[in-house]
């Protein structure tokens, strides 16, 4: 009797669909459409809607009785393009060249030149790094520095610069060690799995708990960065809004059951031996000195402390290393559904399976002990007809160009996320990405050449438009934006002429308030470069250290590098003003900027002011600006004018 009952229940269960029709109807899970490009009758409209992007944008505007803003002037456009693609201001000569270029393709040429430059990768890598919460240290108590983690940053920059197809970019990060166990580039890419925070401590390591934390990090990021779904919500229970069961979450995790840390040292055995001997010698010395600390007091003790610190700082840099992962099949973690996500409350064991809502009901799991599981995960993610991957990526590209996405919740394409403002445009762009071999630069180019992108940030229809679309989702003008933290620092360096353009390599720890270093658990971790010109490298090359963020970056909304950030905040508050008025970076560079101005134009106050505006704001000062600035220079040092320039809205914002 009992057996019959069980069988009947199982049969009933089999008839019950895994996912309801309403769940499967989520817009972002539907196959991409092949939308027809809208056509227009009026001449004014057809001339604006030259490209498909513009046609889609214009139709939405027209449906809402709005119209686009006029085209921005060239001075505005070149500054917009430079910051957008390079994160740097255009030089006065660049501006003059562009403004004076009478060729009809001047704008196209400028776009192509900027996209072809390595600075493009330096700027756009930051967007990706934010999304995968890139950091080079493990956080928690030791905040251990991961030797060679910077190579992942360079990998992203170089991949963007070479316009590596996005499907390949994804595959290498998800499964680079499986695809090319000997290939440095793909091994570095798989460093993706090392980017989450890792708890380590002395004594009881709570191994099972820690392993669960690591697997959680690695699973959640695949949801946020690649799928644009809040998969992490299903760790403790079935997703509250989206068709992701708790079981789906652990099935996704099961693709990484065998994934373990792997640090590949790129040095001969002899080199490694010599390095270890050197480290041991210094560590022994430190240990000996430490013993003496207790016997001393006051000044003597302080001196010894300093000596120990110096020794710690002088420990040799790690040998060249690739921070990546490998599969350790013998020790792979059996993946269970965990009650409330608690590692000690194991329920049934599960095998790998991609999100069930995108599979026919009843699709079996893969064999949990199959080799190279992550390749199959990557294959699934990068299938040309995957409904999410391409949409999520083109939406990010759109978002970083326009300041808001077609879907304005770039990491949440679920029921609770934002609905696309231009669903057909989103599909059109995603189709173009896939059809173009997943190359991103053609998508950038298409967007940048559109009339939508070239609009002024002022609109004659502002009155009606603000009422209908206060957030400018329909793009009735270009949205002004404040520069991001890295852009502000880089622009200050560029404007003052101090920028060190060197690309790539080990990350830099710039001088920072001593007290902040003392707030590290191991202050000796902070090692300033011997070559001071390194302090003026672009911000993307500064170390991403979880337990010490630069106050300058923090105050201008740099994300905390602990969870995926697809869209930065842009806040306005007094500590930003304090940083730009009293901070060491602003004041140091104001001095340098003043020196540059003096060198370039001499002593004439009006010329100094004009040059300063041209360098920093990309335009000449208005009379209402020139007058007070010249007056100011009669009594105040040029350095103070230079500092004021760093505080201008037209320096800190892009129109």
């Amino acid at each position: 009797m009992l057996l019959v009952g069980v069988a009947a229940a199982a049969a009933a269960d089999a008839r019950k669909p895994e996912y309801r029709e309403t769940e499967r109807s989520l817009w972002s899970l539907q196959p991409r459409s092949q939308p027809a490009v809208p056509e227009f009758a009026a001449a004014e409209e057809t001339s604006w809607a030259r490209s498909p992007i513009d046609a889609f944008v214009l139709r939405k505007l027209a449906e809402n009785s709005l119209r686009p803003a006029p085209q921005a002037d060239r001075v505005t456009l070149i500054r917009r393009l430079y910051f957008d693609l390079w994160g740097l201001p255009p030089s006065p000569a660049d501006i003059a060249d562009f403004v004076n270029d009478s060729n009809t393709d001047a704008y196209e040429k400028l776009v192509d030149r900027l996209l072809a430059s390595p600075h493009y990768g330096e700027r756009w890598a930051q967007h990706w790094l934010d999304g995968v919460r890139f950091a080079e240290t493990e956080g928690f108590e030791y905040d251990r520095h991961l030797a060679g983690m910077w190579r992942y940053r360079d990998y992203v920059i170089e991949s963007l610069n070479s316009d590596k197809p996005y499907d390949e970019f994804v595959r290498e990060q998800i499964a680079g060690d499986e695809i090319g166990p000997e290939n440095h580039e793909t091994l570095i890419a798989a460093g993706l799995h090392r980017l989450g925070a890792v708890r380590r401590n002395a004594g009881n390591q709570e191994v099972a708990s820690s392993r669960n934390e690591v697997l959680t990090e690695r699973t959640d990021i695949i949801g946020s960065a690649f799928l644009g779904l809040t998969v992490g919500c299903a760790r403790c229970h079935d997703h509250m809004f989206d068709p992701i069961r708790q079981r789906d979450y652990y099935r996704l995790q099961a693709f990484m059951a065998a994934t373990e840390e792997n640090n590949i040292v790129l040095a001969t055995e002899e080199e490694q031996k010599a390095w270890k001997a050197l480290v041991k010698e210094k560590e022994d010395e430190i240990k000996e000195l430490r013993k003496k600390l207790d016997e001393l007091s006051g000044e003597e003790k302080g001196k010894l402390h300093q000596k120990i610190r110096n020794l710690e700082v002088s420990l040799p840099d790690p040998l060249p290393t690739i921070a990546t992962v490998k599969n350790d099949y013998e020790n792979q973690t059996p993946i269970h559904v965990l009650e409330r996500g608690d590692y000690s409350k194991k329920k049934e064991q599960v095998g790998p399976r991609v999100l069930g809502v995108l599979l026919p009901d009843g699709t079996p799991e893969l064999d949990a002990y199959r080799k190279n599981l992550r390749i199959s995960l990557a294959d699934w993610l990068t299938a040309p007809d995957h409904p999410l991957t391409a949409r999520v990526m083109v939406n990010r590209i759109w978002l970083y160009h326009f300041g808001s996405g077609i879907v304005n919740t770039p990491n949440d394409f679920g029921f609770n996320g934002d609905k696309p403002s231009h669903p057909e445009l989103l599909d059109y762009l995603a189709n173009q990405l896939v059809a173009g071999g997943w190359r991103q630069k053609p998508i950038h180019r298409m967007i940048l050449l559109s009339n939508a992108y070239r609009q002024s940030s002022d609109s004659p229809v502002a009155e009606a438009a603000v009422q209908k679309d206060p957030e400018n989702r329909l793009l009735w003008r270009f949205s002004r934006r404040r520069l991001e933290a890295e852009e502000i620092r880089d622009a200050m360096l560029a404007v003052s002429g101090k920028l060190n353009p060197k690309a790539g390599g080990q990350s830099i720890m710039v001088p920072v308030d001593e007290q902040l270093v003392e707030l590290l658990y191991k202050p000796a971790q902070w090692k300033e470069p011997e070559d001071v010109s390194q302090n003026y490298r672009r911000s993307v090359y500064l170390i991403a250290k979880r337990n010490l963020r630069l106050p300058f970056m923090e105050v201008f909304d740099q994300p905390a590098m602990l969870t995926s950030c697809a869209r930065r905040q842009s806040s306005t508050h007094a500590p930003q003003a304090l940083e730009l008025m009293n901070g060491p970076l602003a004041n140091g560079l104001a001095e340098v900027f003043a020196g540059r101005l003096r060198r370039e134009v001499g002593d004439d106050p009006a010329q100094l002011v004009e040059r300063a505006y041209l360098l920093a704001a990309g335009r000449m000062p208005a009379p209402g600006e020139l007058r007070p600035a010249v007056e100011f220079l009669k009594t105040q040092p040029l350095r103070e004018l230079a500092l004021a320039i760093f505080n201008l809205n037209d320096f800190l914002y892009v129109n």
Binding site: V75, E141, T230, Q569, P575, Q576, L578, N582, N649
Partner: protein, 473 residues
């Protein structure tokens, strides 16, 4: 050169042109509407009404970092002394520690306890000053958390999660209530000059909340706020002129209805105000000698913690929302992290902090501020009933003591209890989330309404619902 590069027209001018004659009326209307819309975002730190009637306006967290022993301080365990040197009797159950092994021996305490206050609450001889304030304290003897290592436990204490990346309670409170002070930061952490804690900066941070809710970390010494000082060689008068120029230049192209740029102008005014007014608040030299003596300022070993507690009072007095005064930093033994020798460590740490803490409570009370200031004392966990290495105690998260005072808390009572050896909270257990919920409740904040959408979830301070500790509110 480049004369044809015309400066960007300001928006007012642009609109005037665009709307030709009938512009002024329509424009005035837009400008007004735009400012209404942006008003909600421009000043995120403007004071906000609480969700429900509040008893407390501010919080001072006296963070005893490293984990003070409950059995040496607020939770006397005579049986522990009787069982000194014995293994833990089986009936008390299991516990996981960081270092101590299951076969470790119980360690009695050398501390003695006496009854104080109207309710006759037992307090250890480590805290003769605090003992006199016991009628104001609600002593929570049944606190517990989930993690037994510093970093993760500190994250849980501060953010409700055992991993970094979530906003701290200070950031959440400022997000919920804004700031009452324009010239001071809303959320201040005063670390111990001896050094950092294991969980590092992310423990105090704003996580995914906007940067405006980040903590201001005070540095040791007389000028604690970063960037509040002018660079060397620049006078305030000179800098005032620079700020005036910044305003003039930014106003030259300003559309009066541009809220974001107006907020930026205001930020400069505030920054200047902070620069001129904050140093006075931060300067304790004008406090009467009697007050300095009360806090133990100017004598060792209380000077530093006393100075910081006094600063905490001065900050709260000026409307700062959340202040944390950390005791302990750097290597474990400079925290309450008494692995080697509980006596040496706790006598030293208590001597540094007991008088200043008691002084803070008395000072708040005599100024009529205690009613509106919630004071929290405690660490990320307690210490093991077992000995570590003979004289020390290991970390211990299953049962330990914290206390609350002021801010509407009913003092003079003990809540909850651990078992007879202080191993486990057995009566009325109070998890960190319950502590957080109680704190929010006193501030008039509801744990559900205080939320922020992040990666698809409405995140709150309490991941799992906490409960208000009803006995004390």
């Amino acid at each position: 050169m480049l004369e044809h590069v015309r400066f960007t027209r300001n928006r007012r001018e642009f609109l005037r042109d665009a709307f030709c004659g009938f512009g002024s009326l329509a424009m005035a209307d837009i400008l007004q509407r735009e400012s209404l819309r942006a008003a909600s975002t421009a000043n995120a730190l403007a004071p906000k009404p609480p969700h429900m009637p509040a008893k407390a306006k501010s919080v001072i967290f006296l963070f005893m970092a490293g984990g003070p022993s409950h059995v040496e301080t607020w939770d006397p365990k005579p049986l522990l002394n009787e069982l000194d040197g014995e293994p833990r009797p089986k009936e008390f159950g299991e516990a996981k520690y960081q270092f101590v092994k299951p076969d470790a021996k119980l360690l009695g305490t050398k501390r003695t306890f006496q009854k104080y206050g109207k309710a006759g609450i037992e307090v250890s001889d480590l805290f003769p000053h605090m003992a006199k304030c016991v009628d104001d304290l609600a002593i929570l003897r049944s606190c517990h958390g989930d993690m037994v290592v510093h970093s993760a436990a500190q994250y849980e204490l501060w953010t409700g999660r055992i991993v970094p990346g979530f906003p701290s309670m200070g950031s959440w409170v400022c997000y919920g209530l804004g700031s009452e002070s324009e010239s001071l930061p809303a959320f201040v952490v005063m670390p111990d000059p001896d050094g950092a804690l294991e969980a590092g900066q992310p423990m105090y941070g704003n996580g995914f909340l906007p940067a405006v809710f980040q903590p201001t970390m005070f540095r040791p010494g007389d000028r604690p706020v970063l960037n509040l000082d002018l660079p060397q060689g620049v006078s305030l008068e000179e800098r005032r002129k620079t700020i005036d120029l910044i305003r003039q230049l930014n106003e030259a192209t300003l559309n009066p209805g541009d809220d974001e740029f107006n907020a930026r102008l205001k930020a400069y005014d505030l920054a200047f105000k902070m620069q001129t007014e904050a140093p006075e608040v931060l300067d304790i030299r004008n406090e009467p000698q009697e007050t300095l003596d009360l806090y133990g300022v100017g004598k060792e070993p209380t000077h530093d913690y006393g100075r910081r507690c006094l600063l905490a009072r001065r900050l709260v007095e000026k409307g700062v929302r959340f202040v944390c005064v950390v005791s302990g930093g750097g290597p474990g033994n400079l925290q309450w992290d008494a692995h080697d020798d509980i006596e040496e460590n706790h006598l030293r740490m208590a001597a540094q902090t007991d008088q200043p803490v008691a002084a803070l409570l008395q000072d708040l009370k005599r100024r009529g501020m205690l009613d509106s200031t919630l004071v929290l004392w405690g660490g990320e966990f307690g210490r093991s009933p077992e000995a570590q290495g003979g004289k020390g105690r290991d970390h211990h998260n299953l049962g330990f003591t914290m206390w609350l005072a002021g801010g509407g808390i009913q003092g003079g009572q003990v809540v909850g209890a651990t078992d007879a050896i202080g191993l486990r909270a057995v009566e009325n257990p109070i998890h960190f989330r319950d502590l957080h919920t109680t704190m929010l409740h006193q501030l008039g904040l509801d744990q559900d309404k205080l939320n922020y959408l992040h990666l698809g979830r409405n995140e709150r301070l309490t991941q799992i619902h906490g409960r208000v500790v009803r006995e004390i509110v």
